[in-house]
């Protein structure tokens, strides 16, 4: 409810406020186009120690963890789009801080697992730090088989150590509540460790068991597409080799191959980008402009007939 009052008119003042706001916005736009004060690419973390942070948080540990988590996300996104020196150097310290403040901050562990291990330019390229973070997660959350699985993952993909990977998969299986497919997974890893098939199986399982975590699913999809691309490259290499045998030289462009093979379209990778063709050797490769680049190295790149 309101009561009426006979008050002086403010119209001229409101107009002035609007005008001044407009001027201040324009000034900001003009100023922002020019020189900006120095912001160090990595920012400054005044507090690196989890203990200190916990004391300073004065009991609001969870909230502080949330704030640092948001900072980690913004930092990560910022690094991703920055044009110079993507080092992601602060990612581990930030995630370490988040998990010190809140040892049960699940998504921080999983995020770290993926993006700390991911090589440049997509991530920090520090699988060792990723494992350190995950081990902390396991210590604080012994029922989380996902963290143990993730450690196995890192051994598999980043370090190509299939024995250790299988070992960790088995450990994950031993935890109550872990899914059944971990067993066959460990076996496959031991047997064919590094094959595209087992990799594909791993990523598919990871994708399906984490259907609700967007970025995890996106990452898994990407990896699967990379595996598809590798298969396609193998098949295409067979075709180009045939071309070389028949014509005695490498194809100049895909059009020639398409004519010979009677293709309806030119070969593109799962992201829609045309494959690269080496004009001297005829070897097929993924275009560097493709979002799937670079393809994973190591045993997974081995061809399987």
């Amino acid at each position: 409810m309101t009561v009426t009052r006979i008050v002086p008119a403010n119209l001229s003042l409101y107009t002035a406020i609007a005008a001044l706001m407009a001027v201040s916005i324009s000034l900001q736009v003009v100023r922002d186009r020019g020189w900006q004060p120095y912001t160090p690419p990595d920012g400054v973390m005044w507090i690196r120690s989890g203990e200190v942070a916990r004391r300073l948080a004065l009991g609001f540990d969870n909230l502080a963890a949330d704030v640092y988590w948001m900072r980690a996300v913004v930092y990560f996104g910022g690094q991703r789009i920055s044009s110079e020196g993507k080092t992601f150097a602060q990612l581990f310290p930030l995630l370490d801080l988040v998990t010190s403040l809140d040892p049960h901050f699940n998504v921080a562990y999983r995020f770290g697992a993926i993006f700390l291990a991911e090589p440049h330019p997509g991530g920090a390229g520090r699988p060792d730090l990723a494992i350190e973070l995950l081990k902390k997660g396991v210590a604080n959350n012994p029922t989380r088989w996902e963290y143990v699985l993730d450690i196995g993952f890192i051994h598999y993909f980043s370090m190509q150590d299939y024995t250790l990977a299988a070992d960790w998969f088995n450990r994950a299986r031993a935890i109550k509540g872990a899914p059944e497919w971990l067993g066959p997974l460990a076996a496959t890893t031991l047997a064919e460790g590094g094959s595209r098939e087992s990799s594909r199986k791993l990523w598919t399982e990871l994708r399906n068991s984490n259907a609700d975590v967007d970025w995890l699913r996106a990452q898994a999809d990407r990896r699967l597409k990379q595996l598809d691309a590798m298969d396609q490259i193998d098949q295409l290499n067979v075709v180009t080799r045939r071309f070389v045998e028949r014509t005695g030289r490498a194809p100049l462009h895909w059009g020639e191959v398409a004519t010979m093979e009677r293709w309806r379209a030119l070969p593109t990778d799962p992201s829609g980008m045309l494959y690269g063709l080496d004009q001297e050797t005829g070897r097929v490769s993924l275009s560097e402009g493709s979002p799937l680049w670079p393809l994973p190295q190591g045993a997974a790149a081995r061809q399987r007939p």
Partner: protein, 316 residues
């Protein structure tokens, strides 16, 4: 000669209540006129709307409806403020300034000439001596009230508004304020003051308005509002022995003991006090005083309040 102060249907609603605010009418359609040179008493119990009216006149708050004018200009007109003075209830100024400094500050705002002399004179007039160099932090309530009066008359105003000017003052202080008001009247200043102490109004005011529950209950000259004819007589007598007391008591309207042998006797208006006085002297008693009992403003006031309350309850 135009009115010094006029209001027309001046109304003010406030919202009260925290969870479900409701409008509360603090002032209801007040229409009043105060002539120049008058001392006008604005009377009523607490909560009657007196302070609200004063604040509306000073435009410290804004009306819901109606209008007010001071010296022919609308309330809130900045120029007219040079010609008026205002004393708020329980005034408070600036802790860290001295009395002299506050008044000098205000004098400069008024754009007065001879600031220093004026300030000095006004401080003398309200009875602040050496304390004028002390910071207001150290002033007592009574001293602050004096500073308030000082700043109200600093600019030699044509109209002065005083909200409960006697509050917080001891009897000496009250007497000084009364004298100040009389001096202002002598200078031709219009004085509009609110009070709930009626005896002051009786001696000072030419006209009064009585407020009750936000409405004007009555207004006019005191002599018109309050009957002048005595309602009865009051005698103070001494030297009355018990036997005499027993004899007299049934003959008179009332007989109350004061101390040993001293009594107050009330007679009806129709009785002749001279007869009783002669008789008492004959019996060895002494008559100490004889006074007519008249309606005071207070009686009138209480009657008005009571009937205003009745009007309200009957309306509910």
């Amino acid at each position: 000669m135009g009115a010094a102060i006029e209001t027309e249907n001046l109304t003010k609603d406030f919202l009260v209540g925290f969870w479900r605010p409701r409008p509360y009418r603090a002032l209801d359609a007040l229409t009043l006129e105060v002539d120049a040179g008058e001392v006008f008493g604005f009377l009523g119990p607490n909560g009657a709307g007196k302070s609200t009216t004063l604040k509306l006149l000073m435009q410290l708050i804004f009306p819901t409806a109606g209008s007010a004018r001071i010296l022919g200009r609308p309330a809130g007109d900045v120029a007219v403020r040079k010609r008026i003075g205002f004393l708020a209830e329980n005034p408070y100024y600036y802790d860290y300034l001295t009395a002299e400094e506050v008044l000098t500050y205000f004098a400069r705002l008024f754009d007065l000439k001879d600031v220093h002399t004026r300030v000095s004179k006004v401080l003398d007039e309200v009875g602040i001596g050496g304390e004028r160099r002390l910071r207001l932090r150290q002033f007592s309530k009574g001293m602050l009230q004096r500073v308030g009066l000082a700043q109200a008359i600093l600019n030699e105003p044509e109209v002065v508004f005083l909200d409960e000017p006697m509050s917080g003052l001891d009897p000496i202080g009250r007497r000084e304020v009364r004298d100040l008001i009389l001096r202002l009247r002598a200078r031709g200043c219009t004085v509009f003051f609110s009070s709930h102490i009626l005896s002051d109004a009786e001696t000072l005011c030419s006209r009064v308005a009585i407020m009750a529950q936000g409405r004007l209950a009555a207004s006019g000259r005191i002599s018109e509002l309050v009957a002048f004819e005595p309602k009865g007589w009051e005698l103070v007598v001494s030297g009355i022995e018990d036997a005499l007391h027993g004899e007299l008591a049934p003959r008179v309207a009332a007989m109350r003991p004061m101390s040993h042998g001293r009594y107050t006797i009330h007679l009806a208006a129709t009785d002749r006090p001279e007869q009783l006085m002669t008789e008492l002297r004959g019996r060895g008693a002494r008559v100490e005083s004889l006074n007519p009992i008249r309606d005071t403003l207070e009686d009138f006031f209480m009657q008005q309040i009571a009937s205003a309350q009745q009007r309200d309850t009957s309306r509910l």
